[in-house]
């Protein structure tokens, strides 16, 4: 599948299909079900400085065209991650992107310093998780802090820095991110959503608001990727939001994404990423096209 090879921020990807941070965990379970090395890359679940037990159940609700989640960044903290998980991730024959979440620039600095020496290929700063009261969400509400965090991360990191946003205030946040020298952005994180139990009259999620993902958000995610790529043609974008099949993946690449991330899709069916890769290859073959002819095609007039 030579024709799916692509280079992003200096990293060669065997194909543009990677996992989105979260739904696939840290890959231990997934790798028993599919061969992760066949993917272009694997993004690990967001880690934080200290461990987090996450939010109380229920954490998952199905809604039309997607799902709401309120996981709350459950993770063991970056030290355990480095000790217990990084060796496994390093053993995978694909590009590992580590997702980091934090409350301030200092926290990101500590984690990046610790992980700089690993075989992780890039960092993704998750500044947009809708499911933690403090944490990334706080940073993204403060565009200046975003600038500071990214600027500092760039200074310290030995690897490319991607920054992940949702749709809230995305224009201004990306502007600051680009100004701070980020290598790319990841768009989009879940969108804030709610569901109410009509029998109790209360929200189903204990934290009331959760994150919407899946096909429902695909048109919104596409418009966001398109808009940002339109403004910053040279910025690398990892596009995601409701990708379930190769047609969806193509749409994101045509809108302006250099890589596509699969989140909810892996939960629905762990074969989805592998199927997308296979079908993307077939599509290009049939149309006799190169990936480069696909990328950003919708941007042209």
């Amino acid at each position: 599948m030579e024709r799916l090879k692509t280079k992003v921020c200096g990293i060669t990807f065997n194909n543009p299909v990677i996992t989105a941070s979260g739904p696939s965990g840290n890959g231990e379970e997934l790798n028993k079900l599919i061969d992760i090395s066949k993917l272009g890359g694997f993004t690990s679940k967001t880690i934080t400085l200290n461990s987090k037990i996450g939010n109380p159940p229920p954490r998952i609700i199905n809604v039309d065209g997607g799902m709401l989640n309120s996981i709350g960044l459950q993770n063991d903290g970056y030290i355990e991650f480095k000790k217990n998980t990084v060796p496994f991730l390093e053993s995978l024959n694909t590009n590992i992107i580590a997702s980091l979440g934090g409350y301030d620039s200092q926290e990101f600095e500590i984690m990046i310093k610790e992980l700089n020496s690993t075989k992780i290929k890039a960092f993704e700063l998750n500044l947009s998780c809708p499911n933690v009261s403090k944490g990334g969400a706080v940073i993204s509400q403060n565009p200046n802090l975003v600038y500071e965090v990214v600027k500092n991360a760039k200074k310290i990191s030995k690897k490319p820095i991607f920054v992940k946003f949702g749709i809230e205030n995305v224009d201004e946040l990306v502007e600051n991110t680009v100004a701070a020298g980020a290598d790319g952005v990841t768009l989009i994180n879940c969108i804030k959503g709610m569901k109410i139990d009509i029998n109790t009259g209360k929200t189903i999620l204990k934290r009331k608001i959760g994150g919407l993902s899946g096909p429902a958000i695909k048109p919104i995610a596409l418009a966001t990727v398109y808009k940002i790529k339109n403004k910053y043609p040279d910025l690398s974008i990892i596009g995601m939001g409701g990708i379930m099949n190769f047609e969806d993946a193509l749409e994101f690449m045509m809108a302006g994404a250099s890589l596509v991330g699969i989140g909810t899709g892996v939960m629905i069916d762990h074969e989805i990423p592998v199927n997308i890769i296979k079908n993307l290859n077939n599509f290009l073959l049939k149309k006799n096209k190169k990936l480069d002819e696909i990328f950003s095609s919708a941007q042209e007039v």
Partner: protein, 234 residues
Amino acid sequence: MEGKIILKKISKEYCILKVKLTEDMNILPGQFVMLSHPLKKELSKPFSVMDFEDGVLTFFVKIVGKFSKLLSELKENDILNIKGPLGVPYINKIDKNLKYVLVGGGCGAVSLIYFKKIYPNLVENELYGFKNSSIRKIFEHKSLFIDEESGNPLDKLDTILKEKNGIIFCGSKGMQKALLNKYPNKKIYMSLEENMGCGEGMCKGCPVMTTNGVKMVCKDGPLFDSKEVLEWKD
């Protein structure tokens, strides 16, 4: 993997589906599978198996919402997408030196019926409570207990439970609470239900707070020792 519906029985509240698999599977009592939406655009949903023989899985579905309604509207010869087996078999979690009374509420009976079939020697007795007798239209079992006709299943349990027995329970949260209150010193294993995303332990979607920290119902359960499970604390 795929399966073809070869038999369907339906009542107002429940439906039973027998599904012939196209590939090999080895599924033990307590394990479950995720059944997928045909278009694979919404979450797959967990269902226990009531029986497995000659490549045929038997499901017992309570019709409660969008997906279970969709399942109940399938017809014979329709194809289902199936992911599994998932979860830890009950047998790997229980004390094999005890004999158990199996207590099920509604479709909680499902996994217990299969357990009895495979491990008859570990079972002292069974008690499967259902709200009303309409269930008899599609499902008959010697240990059916119809609340409407016979009152509280836990009263009945009192009469069949022996000193040395443990309990394996699968049913509603209300019944579970009552059971734990009634027998604070018994060995009770409970099969938990939680909304699931992946069913495979990846997404952290189905937590249960335990004495050993947060565990996932799908990967570490669904069966837990009642002593192990804690109220959620932030």
